[in-house]
């Protein structure tokens, strides 16, 4: 393709040329199914820390999943499953866990998290964590993975198949889309008949040619792949019963295409609605309904794949663009957070719990958790263990190597690799204001609140009081002359613990004054010179 697209992808300091197909992208028959929980799944209410008082009293006083409703899955680790995760064939995802086919992976995230929905989604899909917010993310990790394919190994089947409406960044490579998007195999086949299916040579300027070739290529691919997909659809079947919900229907189609002999390596389905800023609800709420759909779909799919005889070659993975904050918000919902839990399922995954509950991780700021496994560890392991690539190949896609989760990894065939870099370090102290390890926790406070007035001397009447409060308190500020004679009260408000900037409108003319700051029962004094 044209100049703009050919540019080398610069990941960190490493330069990866999209035009050096040095390895084979298809090493075995293994297939990956990705379920994108779009919107940011609330992992804390998915796997609940069911014996933790703080979960019920402090973080989720309104939105907790009651202890009496959940099913404990690890007494030691204090983890239980949301009751709706036992819906679906053979006891749903709980059944999968009990039969050793569900990996529950905790604490996934990345450093310097971005709270923008779109940016964080792009980061997860691209598999790149850029240094600056404004650096554009133009390709996805699987797009780059299949960029490296040799022309000779191009199979009849598309590399990736997305069921749904919109092409995901995940499959966009430097050399174009690596996936086919479809909702309905028959429809695609019928519609593709009238698409221009010949490669056309044409004259024109470089950029026109670039775009022309792009459209032309899409047409050629649609035409070619629609036939292959239709063939697989006609040859394939389902055995298990699925519920009639969008996610279940999508996975049903995936199972049928796999059974019909489609050789795509990656299938991608989307489950939407996880952005639960408001009305997330409890047991009967929106989030719980999503988990019911998830469990029904995943368990039916796994059962189907087993009955159809493909379970040695198919694993599934749930991903979401970020977790949600431990503290619920004021609108019966939860806001974008950082660390999260992720599931993998199939005969070939280790049916275990990895890590301790991510909700026990320390806070990195007042609201967000640290993470202890980089999400790219999972991508890295998939490329090496599941797709059978060399570590260097995987490194060239992600820019570096990543430690396997809990160093042993979640895929059965993963071999421990001592040369991998260490997992991310997690600081000992939590910035959660209510954490007992947090020196700022009011219970740990021996020091007094701090107050700084600026500017000081104050030109005119306007000044700011920068204050750090360790406990919630009613604050009153009274201005007086140094003699003690009071000019008046200049501020009164209740404040939460934390750092605040309070604007003050001072009284009187130039001169030296005292500000008496009353915080709860304590008094502080600041001298202030007005000029």
């Amino acid at each position: 393709m044209g100049v703009g697209v050919v540019a080398n992808l610069n990941i960190g300091k490493m330069s990866v040329s999209a035009f050096e197909p040095s390895n084979y992208a298809v090493q075995n028959d293994n297939i990956l199914v990705i379920i994108q929980q779009f919107g940011g799944n609330d992992g804390i209410n998915t796997i609940t820390p069911y014996e933790w008082d703080l979960y019920y009293n402090l973080y989720r006083p309104k939105l907790n999943i009651p202890q009496s409703a959940v099913t404990p899955i690890s007494k030691d680790k204090g983890m239980a499953m949301h009751p709706n995760l036992k819906l679906g064939p053979r006891n749903g995802m709980l059944g999968l866990f009990e039969s050793g086919k569900l990996a529950i992976m905790h604490g996934l995230g990345y450093d310097n998290p971005n709270y923008s929905h779109f940016r964080s989604t792009d980061i997860w899909l691209s598999g790149l964590v850029p240094n600056t917010d404004s650096e554009p993310l133009r390709s996805g990790w699987l797009g780059r993975y299949f960029d490296k394919t040799k022309p000779s190994e191009k199979t009849e089947s598309p590399f990736c198949l997305q069921v749904g409406q919109n092409p995901s960044l995940m499959f966009l490579g430097e050399t174009g889309e690596k996936s086919i998007v479809l909702e309905d195999a028959e429809q695609l086949y019928n519609q593709a008949k009238s698409v221009e299916s010949d490669k056309i040579s044409i004259g024109g300027s470089a950029y026109f040619l670039d775009e022309f070739n792009y459209v032309n290529q899409i047409g050629v691919e649609v035409n070619e792949y629609s036939k292959v997909i239709k063939k697989a659809f006609d040859a394939g079947k389902n055995i298990e019963k699925y519920s009639d919900r969008p996610l279940s229907n999508q996975l049903k189609l995936v199972a049928r295409l796999i059974n019909g002999g489609l050789k795509s390596k990656v299938y991608f389905v989307e489950h939407t609605g996880y952005d639960t800023h408001s009305n997330q609800g409890g047991l009967d709420g929106a989030h719980s309904r999503l988990l019911a759909e998830l469990s029904e779909a995943i368990s039916a799919f796994q059962s189907d794949i087993e009955s159809l005889g493909h379970s040695k070659n198919v694993i599934g993975l749930t991903t979401s663009e970020f977790g949600r904050r431990p503290y619920e918000n004021g609108s019966m919902g939860t806001d974008h957070g950082t660390s999260n839990v992720m599931f993998a399922f199939g005969d070939e995954v280790k049916g275990e719990i990895f890590g301790s509950h991510f909700a026990f991780l320390p806070f990195r700021d007042f609201q967000n958790l640290w993470f202890d496994t980089d999400f790219r560890s999972i991508y890295y392991e998939i490329m090496v263990s599941w797709f059978g690539q060399s570590p260097e190949y995987a490194e060239s896609v992600l820019g570096k190597k990543f430690a396997y989760i809990s160093s042993k990894g979640f895929i059965k065939t993963t071999v421990e690799d001592k040369t991998l870099p260490p997992p991310p370090e997690v600081p000992k102290t939590s910035a959660d204001i209510n954490s007992p390890d947090n020196p700022l926790n009011p219970k740990n406070i021996t020091e007094q609140d701090t107050f700084v007035l600026y500017p000081n001397p104050v030109p005119g009447n306007s000044a700011f009081l920068n204050m750090r409060l360790y406990v919630q308190a009613d604050l009153t500020i009274i201005q007086s002359y140094v003699s003690g004679q009071v000019l008046g009260e200049i501020h009164r408000k209740s404040y939460q613990p934390g750092v605040h900037n309070v604007y003050l409108d001072l009284l009187g003319g130039p001169g030296l004054y005292l500000l008496k700051i009353k915080v709860g029962k304590r008094n502080h004094y600041i001298k202030c010179l007005k000029i």
Binding site: V3, G4, S116, H117, F118, R119, T132, D133, S134, Q165, N166, P167, E177, S179, I180, V181, L182, E183, L188, N190, Q191, A192, S194, V195, E196, I200, I202, G203, G204, S205, A206, Y207, F208, L209, D210, E211, F212, N213, Y214, V215, N216, I218, G219, E221, V222, Y225, S226, H277, S278, N279, N329, G330, S331, S462, F464, K493, N501, V502, Y503, D505
Partner: protein, 515 residues
């Protein structure tokens, strides 16, 4: 005449060596009289649908004349006929009982559902009829920029969506400051980004964040502190859809939800040293917030907006060379204190805009394909709205607050076959006679060469090779010698059948999807 124009038509065809770095980056006015190809280039970027009569009108005029005319026409049409439901007020069913409650609830359901689709139809008609101004294309830009979806948990009523659209239309090329000030208290936006839940006790940062990230400054050029303080400054605004709960669809201030403390935003103090009234808060909080953003981050804002407009109107994947042009446009915007029209006029009259490298390089969005076809053929406008939705652009319902991703996402393995499928449906809604009669509206359509050329001009931006022209002509002639077309064309039904074949062939071509 045909021969001469075909020579023009093939101009530049064999110039294949041009590279993006060679693009003319000058924003100086292009002063030559415009040829057919250039008029079409300008009209395609300004409107969703072209007709030969408009093209004919502008050939030979200068860019300055045509651009001024296109803006003058837009200015005249910013108050189109309103949708039928805009004055239909309702009461809150919760405050009623019995039959009245049922009636109002049914009405409410219409406002939240069907009327939003009717509103889409209303806009489709406006887009279709606007073939001689910048108006509707620019209104869609703003809808994409200040993206607001009607379909959320509790849908946004159609009148609110209409009012927002009207704001964009009235200010389509006005001052960006006004748009920012007004969008902050726009009813649909207050609902969409939870501005109406942004209260002093528990500020909701949703709108404040997007105001900076997506609407004005761009990601990375502000701090989390700016967002927190910005949210506080914007507290207290409400909207209702019910006539018994205030003036419906008009934002108002609830003083008890407004944070009366002083705030510090980007180093500026927002003291509340005034009586808390709607007008005072709007002037001293909302307008001041926008003022501080535009003053402190003027460079970033002008760059952000200029770049987005460039991507929308010129090329969605600008190179480094183009960035220089964007930088100059940003300067024009800043120098004109965020008045948008001077910047757009500068752009559309420029040598850069008319550089051949910019012709036919944009990927068509659903309105480009669907409205472009609808203009010429008979089809149900509501269905057209639905087709656009199926292809990924549902009017009044962008996928999220970031708007449509655009560029190559318009053409995917999913949308390419379905676009062709739907276009065929539109064409097939018209019988042979109708298609023949349509072809007859094209001047000199009795000449097969002219008819082919004119049809290609309507749907394909750049000249096509002589070989392809031959192929297309043959769709009409079906083997007959060219002079026989005149006879064939006398039977409009027979001609229409051939026109259908040609249209089917045109909509398959990869360059049909470029403009």
């Amino acid at each position: 005449m045909a021969a001469i124009s075909r020579r023009n038509f093939l101009e530049g065809l064999f110039d294949t060596s041009q590279n993006r770095t060679e693009v003319n980056t000058s924003l100086d006015e292009y002063t030559q009289p415009l040829n057919r190809l250039q008029v079409r280039h300008l009209l395609r970027r300004a409107t969703f649908s072209m007709t030969n009569s408009v093209i004919d009108k502008y050939v030979g005029k200068t860019a300055g004349e045509v651009v001024d005319a296109l803006f003058a026409n837009a200015d005249k049409n910013t108050s189109p006929i309103q949708p039928f439901f805009v004055n239909d007020v309702i009461k809150n069913p919760q405050n009623l009982s019995g039959k009245q409650k049922e009636e109002e609830a049914a009405k409410r359901a219409l406002h939240l559902g069907d009327y939003n689709r009717e509103l889409g139809k209303w806009w489709v008609i406006l887009m279709k009829n606007d073939r001689d101004s910048f108006l509707e294309k620019t209104v869609l830009f703003w809808h994409d920029h200040f993206a607001t979806q009607f379909a959320i948990c509790d849908n946004i009523p159609a009148i609110s969506m209409y009012k927002q659209n009207d704001l964009f239309r009235k200010n389509y090329a006005g001052n960006f400051r006004t748009l920012l000030e007004q969008i902050a208290i726009d009813g649909a936006m207050l609902r969409y980004l939870n501005g109406n839940e942004n209260v002093s006790d528990s500020p909701n940062e949703n709108f404040a964040r997007e105001l900076m990230e997506l609407f004005s400054i761009g990601v990375g050029n502000y701090t989390e502190q700016d967002i927190r303080e910005g949210a506080k400054i914007l507290t207290g605004w409400k909207i209702t859809m019910y006539a018994d709960e205030g003036t419906p669809y008009k934002a108002f201030l609830n003083p008890s939800h407004f944070d009366a403390n002083s705030k510090l935003f980007m180093g500026e103090v927002f003291a509340v040293n005034y009586e808390i009234s709607e007008q005072n808060v709007f002037n001293n909080s909302v307008k001041k917030l926008i003022d501080v953003i535009l003053n402190k981050k003027g460079q970033e804002v002008s760059k952000f907006l200029a770049n987005k407009m460039y991507e929308y109107y010129v090329y969605a994947n600008p190179s480094k060379t183009d960035q220089a042009v964007v930088g100059e446009l940003a300067k024009v915007l800043l120098d004109n204190k965020f008045e948008i029209k001077p910047m757009l006029k500068k752009l559309f009259k420029s040598q850069h805009f008319f550089d051949d490298l910019n012709v036919g390089v944009q990927l068509k969005s659903p309105p480009e394909t669907i409205i472009g076809m609808l203009r010429h053929l008979e089809y149900n406008d509501l269905y057209a709205r639905n087709i656009m939705a199926a292809l990924g652009l549902e009017l009044f319902n962008p996928p999220n607050v970031a708007g449509w991703k655009g560029y190559r996402t318009w053409i995917s393995t999913k949308t390419l076959p379905s676009t062709i499928h739907f276009l065929k449906e539109i064409i097939n809604t018209n019988n042979d006679l109708a298609l023949g009669n349509w072809a007859n509206t094209i001047e000199s359509s009795g000449d097969v060469h002219i008819l082919t050329e004119r049809m290609l001009e309507l749907f394909i931006a750049r000249p096509v090779s002589a070989e392809r022209v031959k192929k297309y002509e043959n769709m009409l002639l079906a083997g007959a010698p060219d002079y026989e077309w005149y006879e064939i064309f006398k039977n409009k039904e027979q001609a229409g059948q051939k026109v259908r074949n040609l249209l089917f062939e045109i909509i398959k071509a990869p360059d049909y999807f470029l403009f």
